[in-house]
């Protein structure tokens, strides 16, 4: 702006014969430029409002605006679904390709209205509310792409949720007319109510070539395992009724049957059960005096008494979900929502999402034939398991049944997991409710394994400048038979480590690592030089540990490779007065931490400490130059759920003559700071992971009346 002004003011000088008339041109020009800039500025300021008005007009669209497509009578019909289809035969995986996010791309066809040559639509309902919800959920998700060429999965906008409202032949023709149909390859259809009278097929009757079917009510004979996806039948009540979660526990009724379309043979059987077991069973039916419609769907009756549905489901421990003409029942969704354990009686039914959900933890499946034994079977299930199932049932509903969005995205995730199996969601991710996910521990070293003695351990000595003490420590440790390597972490940037010739001569390799910064976390770095699993972290002033004690410590670590095994033990206590945690180093009967001034642990924990430490703990430790050992204890206890192991009796570990320096640990402020650490870490971890135990490990014959020379570790606990 400013420069252009200067330029125009210089104009007359360049053109000396310029007249006033021309100057007006310049001014006009100038103002045009100015106005343009202002306009641009305005545009920049309110771009959202401009775009959102565009959105708003888009929102106003009506189903009836969708283009009308007329199907010729002779239009081709796809083949019936091929029962032998599997992902590797009927699905084109090249379209999904390799992508670093391991996520499939899904394309949705724009809405079209198909009519036959006479102008009669192919479906009596057209686009249903549920299918619309499903498609908009998918289009809002990460799976969606609007680029048809990049898509891996195609979803037609033709609504086939309910076969009853479809004209089979015309629907099939419409599918075949889709521009990318290509024998149904990579196409996904959603259907919840398959089949029709009189024999009610268990899969959609519309011929569909190789298209995948996400179907509600598959039987084991129509379900193509690993290809189709079994989905629930959505219950419209899910959206209308808000049932608050109830605490698991015993309910007023033991078994409840609330379905209305039960075959009379089965109803007779249920009546018989009711007679035998009385009040424990509640057997409801539709209310005869109410008219059909939404209102009657919300009521159930028994001998003139009216109950609210689905609220009544919450009053029972088990709820019967019996097959109707179809195998899939919307009642299953209501039952789960109520936190009632479904008792499924539908032979050969493939339960919803059974590919990933472990229904054994949330439901009871009883063969139809055994309906009469239902009561005895359910009574044999212990209470605790029932409560577990109630919780699980509710969680399944919340995560996978509660909305069309949940159903749609779960289906896509299952297909996604098949295409990228190495990045698939785990059993725990699918099946564990959030509460369990947070509280459960998943030890990364879960295999019970006692590593062989031979590889030995690597001692990592953190040192700053106490060279004399360091050399004594090195000499002492080098006597331990299982020592494989010594690694000195030189944490002093101002001073070089002593010359090679000055170091003690030892029989194992000795490596010195110089660090860039004087940080405590350098002690826990997973150095490549550490080639053994076992790491002994040791301070440069711990000179009083005997070779027997160290060797024994290593033997104990081999029995507990997933724990910290250390010498000085410490405890955390709850201070009732202050209402917070307190650090304790006195003579206590309990242990919850071991100091890493001398401790064995798995190298994996170095990696965890360095790369996976939650929150800002690592920086905090480095900034305060304290509590790295407490942090390590928290980390290990949190991931394994196990207490550390303290070995051998209590003794003085540092040199007797350096008590003055030793004062550091005893210093009152130091203790306060360590209490602070515990409180800080507990809040970062969101829990107190440390476990308290009352035992320590000693050699089998420790202090036993037995000749010392026959003991493997005689020199233990001597001061």
């Amino acid at each position: 702006m400013y420069t252009s002004g200067k330029y125009s003011s210089r104009g007359p000088a360049l053109i000396p014969r310029m007249k006033t008339k021309h100057r007006i041109y310049y001014i006009t020009l100038f103002s045009v430029v100015l106005l343009g800039l202002i306009a641009t500025g305005m545009f920049q300021f309110w771009p959202h409002s401009i775009e959102s008005t565009a959105d708003w007009t888009l929102d106003k669209r009506s189903v009836h605006d969708a283009p009308l497509i007329r199907l010729p009578v002779s239009s081709p019909i796809p083949e019936r679904g091929d029962l032998s289809c599997r992902m590797h035969t009927c699905f084109d995986v090249y379209r999904c390709g390799y992508n670093p996010k391991n996520r499939i791309k899904v394309y949705i066809y724009p809405l079209q209205r198909f009519v036959d040559e006479l102008g009669v639509p192919i479906s009596s309902t057209g686009l249903s509310r549920e299918y619309n919800d499903l498609l908009s959920a998918i289009s809002d998700s990460d799976f969606y792409t609007d680029d048809v060429t990049r898509a891996c999965l195609f979803i037609p906008s033709i609504d086939v949720l309910n076969q009853n409202s479809l004209r089979i032949r015309e629907t099939a023709q419409a599918l075949a007319m889709l521009p990318r149909w290509d024998k149904g390859m990579n196409h996904l259809l959603f259907n919840m109510l398959p089949g029709g009278p009189p024999d009610y097929n268990t899969a959609l009757d519309v011929p569909r070539d190789r298209a995948l079917l996400a179907g509600g009510g598959f039987s084991t004979w129509t379900y193509r395992q690993g290809y189709d996806v079994s989905i629930p039948v959505y219950s419209p009540l899910s959206a209308d009724v808000d049932l608050p979660e109830r605490q698991p526990g015993p309910r007023h009724y033991f078994i409840l049957s609330s379905q209305t379309a039960i075959h009379r043979e089965y109803r007779a059987e249920l009546e018989r059960l009711k007679e035998e077991n009385g009040e424990a069973l509640l057997l409801l039916d539709k209310c005869s005096n109410l008219s059909q419609g939404a209102a009657s769907a919300r009521k159930r009756c028994y001998k003139g008494q009216v109950y609210d549905y689905p609220q009544i489901l919450q009053e029972s421990s088990f709820c019967v979900v019996l097959r109707g003409a179809r195998l899939g029942q919307a009642a299953l969704s209501d039952v789960l929502q109520a936190g009632c354990v479904p008792v499924t009686l539908a032979d050969s039914y493939i339960l919803p999402f059974s590919e990933v959900l472990d229904w054994k933890r949330a439901s009871v499946v009883i063969p139809e034939e055994k309906l009469s034994e239902m009561y005895t079977i359910l009574k044999s299930i212990p209470h605790r398991q029932v409560e577990e199932m109630q919780r699980q049932a509710r969680w399944f509903w919340e995560a996978y049944f509660s909305s069309m969005k949940a159903i749609g995205l779960t289906t896509l995730q299952i297909i996604n997991d098949r295409i990228y199996p190495y990045a698939a969601r785990t059993y725990e991710q699918w099946n564990n409710p959030p509460v369990v996910k947070w509280s459960s521990v998943n030890s990364p070293l879960f295999l019970p394994l006692i590593p062989p003695r031979a590889p030995g351990f690597t001692a990592v000595v953190l040192t700053y400048d106490r060279v004399e003490s360091l050399f004594r420590v090195i000499t002492e440790i080098s006597k331990v038979p299982s020592l494989a390597k010594l690694l000195v972490v030189w944490n002093n940037q101002n001073k070089s480590p002593p010359e090679e010739t000055l170091w003690p001569k030892i029989s194992v390799p000795l490596k010195v690592v110089r660090t860039k910064e004087n940080k405590l976390s350098n002690r826990f770095f997973p150095y490549d030089e550490i080639e053994t699993e076992a790491v002994l972290a040791i301070d440069d002033d711990i000179i009083m540990l005997t070779s027997d004690e160290l060797q024994f410590g290593y033997e104990v670590w081999r029995e507990f490779p997933d724990r910290l095994v250390g010498y000085p033990g410490r405890l955390h206590l709850w201070d009732h007065e202050m209402g917070k945690w307190k650090y304790e180093s006195e003579w206590t009967n309990e242990v919850s931490m071991v100091l890493t001034g001398a401790a064995f642990y798995h190298k994996y924990f170095n990696y965890l400490y360095t790369y996976k430490m939650p929150g800002d703990i690592k920086n905090w430790v480095d900034a305060h130059m304290n509590c790295e050992d407490i942090a390590m204890n928290f980390l290990v206890a949190n991931i394994t759920g196990k207490a550390p192991i303290k070995v051998t009796p209590r003794k003085k570990f540092k040199c007797p003559e350096c008590t003055a320096i030793d004062g550091l640990s005893l210093d009152q402020t130091h203790m306060v700071e360590r209490s602070e650490c515990i409180n800080k870490f507990a809040s970062v971890f969101g829990t107190m992971p440390l476990k308290v135990v009352e035992h320590r490990a000693d050699p089998v014959l420790y202090k036993d009346d037995f000749p010392e020379k026959l003991k493997s570790f005689p020199n233990i606990g001597s001061l």
């Binding site: 809405l111 472990d358 009883i366 605790r384 309990e590 320590r696």
Partner: protein, 696 residues
Amino acid sequence: MQAKKRYLILLSAGACLVLLFYLGGVQLPAASRSRHDRSRNGHRPEQPWPHFSDPLHLFLPWDQTDTEDYNLHISPRQKRDINTSVYKGKRCRMDSCFDFSLCRKNGFKVYVYPQQKGEKISESYQNILSTIEGSRFYTSDPGQACLFVLSLDTLDRDQLSPQYVHNLKTKVQNLPLWNDGRNHLIFNLYSGTWPDYTEDLGFDIGQAMLAKASISTENFRPNFDVSIPLFSKEHPRTGGERGYLKYNSIPPFRKYMLVFKGKRYLTGIGSDTRNALYHVHNAEDVVLLTTCKHGKDWQKHKDARCDKDNAEYDKYDYKEMLHNSTFCLVPRGRRLGSFRFLEALQAACVPVMLSNGWELPFSEIIDWNTAAVIGDERLLLQIPTTVRSIHQDKILSLRQQTQFLWEAYFSSVEKIVLTTLEIIQDRVLEHASRSSLMWNSHPGGLFIQRTNKTSFVCSLFQIIVLWNCDKPLPAKHRWPATSVPVIVIEGENKVMSSRFLPYEIIVTDAVLSLDEDTVLSTTEVDFAFTVWQSFPERIVGYPARSHFWDSNKERWGYTSKWTNDYSMVLTGAAIYHRYYHFLYTNYLPTSLKSMVDQLANCEDILMNFLVSAVTKLPPIKVTQKKQYKETMMGQSSRASRWADPDHFAQRQTCMNKFASWFGAMPLVHSQMRLDPVLFKDQVSILRKKYRDIERL
């Protein structure tokens, strides 16, 4: 004037251009930035599926919900019968081809046809049959059986194989109990023959179930057939080697990333994948080797690559690669499954499956994504990128899982067969079957029997006295008064194993098992109980014993001497989980239990074997007062069975009997004992919680 005008036009045109450029230039980044912002806020730039404003119908109108008119139609019972008659052969399912009623009376019992003279049976099949006969499922009475297993060898159905059994069709049809194969289980490892290796067994299996290796998803009848792994005839009958993983190195990468060494088929049999492997081979960390040198006339068919491939093939040692690779490729060979699979699993080399359409072994219960990488043959070229993208943590867990699965289900013929039977049993007892979690985590499905765990009830809750003597019970007033209920059970058979019956009366998880001559102080028991709470899966107790390999006598030895280590804790004074009562009674074979009963000895050794086989860990010894040990060793109780001179020799024999049934020595040594934290420390005894333990 003209020049001026021209100048002016030029200038204004230039200005317009600048203006346009400026506007456009500003607008473009602005627009793109705003799009960026919005997508970060979770909005999308364009709404591809429009929000329709008009009211839409429900997919299931309210008036349709219960008008299925079901009642008017066929009875569900009839419908079931129709299913049973329609779904046969390739469409068999448990619902249509299995008679559940046979299992209802006597539970899940398996009958093996008696072996006929003159029928040759391969070693592998013999192993399968003797495993079943030695298992707790076995019954010799076909009237009690729920499942039938042929004594005709069906393992190898390759007509070119020497093991091939001829005329199987008529032999099977002539079996008196065949009943069109209903409730029969047929084991098969190889089917079909050169060149197309179909999965046809060469005889009509009727409604029988298949336990088959290399079965394809197309032919696999879900929840009816069982896919078993291909195992060689050297595969041990029981026990079996443990996995090769000894320690978890960090970082978890090994020398090679991905290896394979195997045959390549030149005549068009087998998969093309093996022919294409050389594209991915890089001779550094991805080593995929094939050879053409197999069969008699390979020279005839050899192609341009053969000589080069063969030369490269000979450069590497298979065993060395197997043990030093992070991932092992398991590509399809002539058949879908190959030996490579079990080899890789045992070697803790994470299998990378390239065998489209193979129904993986025990897929019904095993979640293979936790122990293997399931690749797609069509995406061979992506395999290196894929395995490299797998995170270190995942590798660590995949590798450990291979070892768990190997040891739980694959390491011996016995495990493979028992797993197969347990899977079928779970289908039969559906409402009480094991969840996927139980199958896929330690200690595995074979050790998780049908039982229901209950919660912790603290400390001493009740005392159960098992009166295992022929003398009558003492009168009521002679029992000491206690604050907890004392329950006396009079053993019915007065045998040793009744100590470990899963008495329903035991409601706590922890069981403190004591001999009648044991003297323990409450402090000692309290301490042992707190220790047990940290190790509920192990035996925690006092008197420890050890085993050793006696190389002179070539057998296991038992010692009660004081040693620096131990591998057993006697159940004369020990705490353990009551679940082991259940396992002892239900998992162990009758042969071992009756041996214990006859000898009236060794029940504690057997319990230690069992617990260590489950946990793969040693028991835990806790510290004790000296006095107890003396009572124990000094045989103060005159009637004690410890006084018997044969006692010790018997225990030696027991050890070897047990070890042979378990197939390997499950006991593990430990060198440590757990003491109270302040045990014998130089501090006032008043500060110690368990001070009684130190007092004599």
